[in-house]
């Protein structure tokens, strides 16, 4: 009797702990498998690409014996599976190899290019959400009106116009003709020596350094590409907001709220949007993750030294260490953002807490 009584709470506790342990273990297993799959697929795609990676290092004009020596140095004479095992071993020890093109360790390169992309993506998402959500709400509330149509057309343009073209057009108008913004690049040449990056996020660095002239310059460089990316996420976010809002506005609790005599503003912003916010978080998170991959075309047009450009350039030169390193980063970003939106989801929606 007494023994069973004393065992009871312990068993209860373990029964409670087990699912948590299980879910943590499950999560780790999923992440590990995802990474390994990601690595394997990228690695083998990189190896079957019909590009000779030695070419990127020695160039077209190197004599045959140099080509052969470099091939051996890179371990390219080994069978694929051995190359892969060697690579994974390195990664597990935190060694992602050296980029052929920049001659830096891949992680050093990524530490340099990723903040550039992240800063741009964050600014883009803030702009996209700040304008996309109100526009989406407006379109939903005034469904079928001219305002709705305008928002729809805005969204359509955002979806369908090539960003490359729009980027050049924006440069032409705001930079070349009107002179409102600075041109391509992250910062003007005049600040190249006075400005010292700390975090790699230039806007934040300028604040840390209390360098307000540089801040203005950086701001005027980032605003154009960020608005452009913002416009594209705006297109997506406003469409999704509209449909979530329509869904909420047709619910019975809205009718009940109106019957209670609540003001329309309160109903829309306080009730409908609050409920629509839950799925909206996922939408914004996904669009943010998409921007974090680095928008190759935007980065090309605006000469923005970011991740997208880095990976594309590396891929074209069969610089596989750099491509793999970049892929892992993007994979991590997706996993992290999914996790983050999960957590936010729980905070916003009490039903998901249990």
């Amino acid at each position: 009797m007494s023994s069973t009584e004393t065992q009871m709470p312990a068993r209860r506790a373990s029964r409670r702990a087990l699912p948590i342990l299980k879910s943590v273990a499950g999560f780790v297993a999923i992440v590990a498998t995802t990474y390994l799959g990601l690595l394997a697929v990228t690695f083998f795609i990189g190896r079957v690409v019909p590009i000779d990676p030695v070419l990127a290092i020695v160039g077209d004009r190197a004599p045959a014996h140099v080509v052969e020596r470099v091939r051996q140095e890179m371990g390219l004479n080994l069978p694929y599976y051995q190359q892969f095992v060697l690579y994974v071993k390195g990664v597990l020890q935190g060694d992602f190899g050296t980029s052929v093109l920049t001659t830096n360790p891949v992680m050093t390169d990524i530490r340099r290019v990723f903040p550039a992309t992240m800063e741009l993506a964050t600014a883009g998402t803030i702009i996209g959400a700040a304008f996309g959500i109100p526009l989406g709400v407006l379109a939903a509330v005034k469904r079928g009106s001219i305002a709705d149509q305008i928002v729809r057309i805005l969204g359509l343009i955002g979806y369908s116009v090539p960003i490359f073209w729009l980027g050049l057009l924006a440069l032409l108008v705001f930079y070349a003709r009107l002179g409102w913004t600075s041109g391509p690049g992250r910062i003007d040449v005049v600040y190249e020596y006075s400005f010292t990056p700390v975090t790699g996020f230039y806007l934040i660095d300028a604040v840390i350094n209390r360098d307000w002239a540089a801040f203005r310059d950086i701001f005027s460089h980032i605003i154009l590409p960020a608005s452009l990316l913002g416009y594209f996420s705006l297109a997506y976010i406003s469409r999704m907001t509209r449909s979530f809002m329509l869904n909420e506005l047709s619910q019975e609790y809205i009718v009940a709220a109106r019957a209670k005599g609540l003001s329309e503003t309160r109903i829309i912003w306080g009730h409908a949007l609050r409920n629509a916010a839950v799925p909206l978080v996922t939408v914004i998170a996904l669009s943010y993750a998409g921007l974090l991959e680095g928008s190759v075309l935007t980065e090309t047009v605006f000469a923005w030294p970011g991740l997208g450009l880095y990976i594309t350039n590396s891929l074209q030169n069969a610089d596989m260490n750099a491509v793999l390193g970049g892929t892992i980063i993007i994979g991590s970003v997706f996993i992290a953002i999914n996790l983050f939106s999960d957590v936010l989801y729980r905070m916003l929606d009490p039903r998901t807490r249990n």
């Binding site: 190197a62 045959a64 109100p134 913004t181 391509p184 350039n313 074209q316």
Partner: protein, 547 residues
């Protein structure tokens, strides 16, 4: 009613948002670059190292050419000659094997260390022992890791002696020494940063000769120092106050990596850069029409060609090779696709180099081509594939050729690909037709003669894989002529030999030469004395100034 009330509140919110967006975008752009700084927009993503012993690409050639000095330099006013660099004078022994260089007295590296013959000898030793891509430019004189300290030697502080293995044409040896691989390095400075190595079968020396450090650092004596390089971002050159020659007017030259021609043009127009280096024909035209801007150009040592793999039995027929040379619409290509960035050039030696043949006999002539195809037994034409990389102007030229060849019944299937991808296929001789560009390895006719008209061994596993080899063009007789020209010590006779080789190639080779590249630069109006040389290492920055 309720909706109306909401709208009244909603509207100002939106208007406010729109206004704030305008304010955000409204901070004014900063104009003009500093007066003592030249800012250039250029695609510099081909820079993978700053070490003269390894670098073999275009953009770093310009950095190294301005930041280092060689024994002798190319004279850009007469490109068939060399002029003194670190060497003040030189003598060649009667047997043609020994070159004795007297160094300029009292000159210094940027670090302040004196430049001695020992530095020169050690720089040669370093190149030969590291044996990277461009090392063959020096090792072709018979230098090896075992003999280099004997063959390239400092006899006293100011005298350097180079002994070559054959009585080469002196112009050949001197021309090769102007290449970036001949740069003289600051031995003391580099060896301070050298890493110890364990000798092995692959690498027999106990030091890396500063190889790791030199990838990103600088140890030279040119008019500028390389202060900073961030891959795919920027390169910064700074005036070298220890330079022995005339000091540059500019304190700093900054290269910004900008790939897009249209972007470069906008930046040039706005004054954010002083020089734009990758302008395509449309943008170049706009720059030339703009009164605030100017442009300059120079023919470069790069030729573009279509090549026909002789492993393809149709392309191997002499009549087909000739017919294809009549199927290029040279005039149309010259007037549109390469306008301002290239000129039609049908011989493989570039304009300005010793022995270049100035001859463009072929015209677009479908009837003539059809006649030749009929002679080859291909009256109804044939089908063939064409590997083309996705960049202009080659894509445009390939499409133009596809269309004009079609008029003679030749069906061309274009296989588009990335540059490195088509090149990999080409290097393995797996193509039918390929459109390529060829840049000279060093400023001497031997490099192109060796590439286009020499193929010592046409077997698949040959040790030397020239362009002739890549197209399986078996030419033992021409190969001998190329070797003979290398040993001809009379400059005029040597030039004649190269002209004969070019004529032969013009008549019979599987290379349809299209054009020679012209490098253009768009300039702000206040940039003075900006010149482009025939090679990238001879684009001089020292005379440039801004008003």
């Amino acid at each position: 009613m309720m909706m109306g009330k909401m709208n009244a509140r909603f509207r100002p919110r939106l208007a406010g948002a729109a206004l704030s967006m305008l304010f955000l975008a409204g901070s004014p752009a900063l104009a003009d670059t500093p007066a003592d700084t030249l800012v250039q927009a250029w695609a510099i993503d081909d820079t993978i190292t700053l070490d003269p012993a390894e670098s073999f690409e275009l953009s770093p050639a310009e950095f190294i050419g301005n930041a280092y000095d060689m024994l002798v330099r190319l004279d850009i006013d007469d490109t068939t000659k060399v002029k003194p660099g670190i060497a003040e004078s030189w003598e060649i022994s009667d047997d043609g094997l020994t070159y004795t260089f007297k160094l300029k007295p009292g000159i210094k590296f940027a670090s302040g260390n004196p430049i001695t013959a020992e530095d020169v000898a050690w720089s040669f030793e370093r190149v030969v022992k590291l044996d990277k891509s461009p090392a063959f430019i020096l090792t072709q004189f018979g230098l090896t890791g075992d003999n280099v300290t004997e063959k390239a030697k400092a006899v006293d502080e100011g005298t350097f002696v180079l002994t070559v293995d054959k009585p080469y044409a002196p112009s050949f040896v001197l021309n090769c020494l102007t290449a970036t691989v001949g740069a003289v390095l600051d031995k003391k400075l580099v060896m301070e940063h050298a890493e110890a190595k364990t000798p092995s079968d692959d690498y027999k020396y106990d030091t890396d000769f500063g190889y790791a450090w030199m990838k990103t650092n600088y140890a030279g004596s040119g008019p500028f120092k390389i202060r900073d390089w961030r891959a795919n971002e920027l390169v910064v050159l700074e005036r070298n106050d220890n330079y022995y020659g005339e000091k540059p007017a500019l304190a700093r030259v900054i290269y910004r990596h900008v790939k897009e021609s249209a972007t470069q043009r906008l930046m040039l127009e706005a004054g954010d850069v002083d020089v734009a280096r990758n302008l395509e024909p449309g943008d170049l035209e706009a720059v030339q029409k703009n009164a605030d801007l100017a442009s300059t150009s120079a023919p470069k040592g790069t030729v573009y060609y279509i090549s026909l793999n002789q492993k393809n039995e149709n392309l191997a027929k002499p009549e087909v090779r000739e017919a294809f040379k009549y199927l290029v619409d040279y005039d149309a290509i010259g007037a549109t696709l390469i306008k301002g960035i290239g000129e039609i050039h049908q011989t493989y030696q570039v304009k300005g180099v010793l022995g270049a043949l100035d001859s463009n006999p072929y015209k677009f002539d479908v009837a003539k081509a059809k006649e030749l195809l009929e002679k080859a037994g291909l009256k109804d034409g044939f089908s063939v594939t064409f590997d083309v990389r996705n960049t202009q102007p080659v894509t445009g030229i390939a499409e133009s050729f596809q269309q004009t060849a079609g008029q003679a019944g030749v069906k061309i299937e274009i296989i588009p690909g990335d540059g490195k991808q088509t090149l990999t296929k080409y290097r393995a001789r797996n193509h039918d037709m390929y459109i390529g560009q060829w840049g000279m390895d060093y400023w001497d006719p031997n490099t192109n003669a060796d590439a286009f008209t020499s193929n010592p061994d046409n077997s698949d596993d040959a040790a030397v894989k020239s362009l002739a080899w890549r197209n399986a063009w078996d030419i033992p007789e021409l190969t001998k002529q190329v070797q003979a020209a290398l040993l001809e010590r009379d400059n005029d006779k040597r030039a004649e030999m190269y002209q004969k080789l070019q004529q032969e190639a013009l008549d019979t080779s599987p290379f349809v030469m299209i054009f020679q590249q012209i490098e253009v630069a768009g300039l702000r109006g206040n940039v003075k004395n900006y010149r482009l040389g025939p090679s990238f290492d001879s684009n001089p920055l020292a005379p440039v100034s801004k008003e």
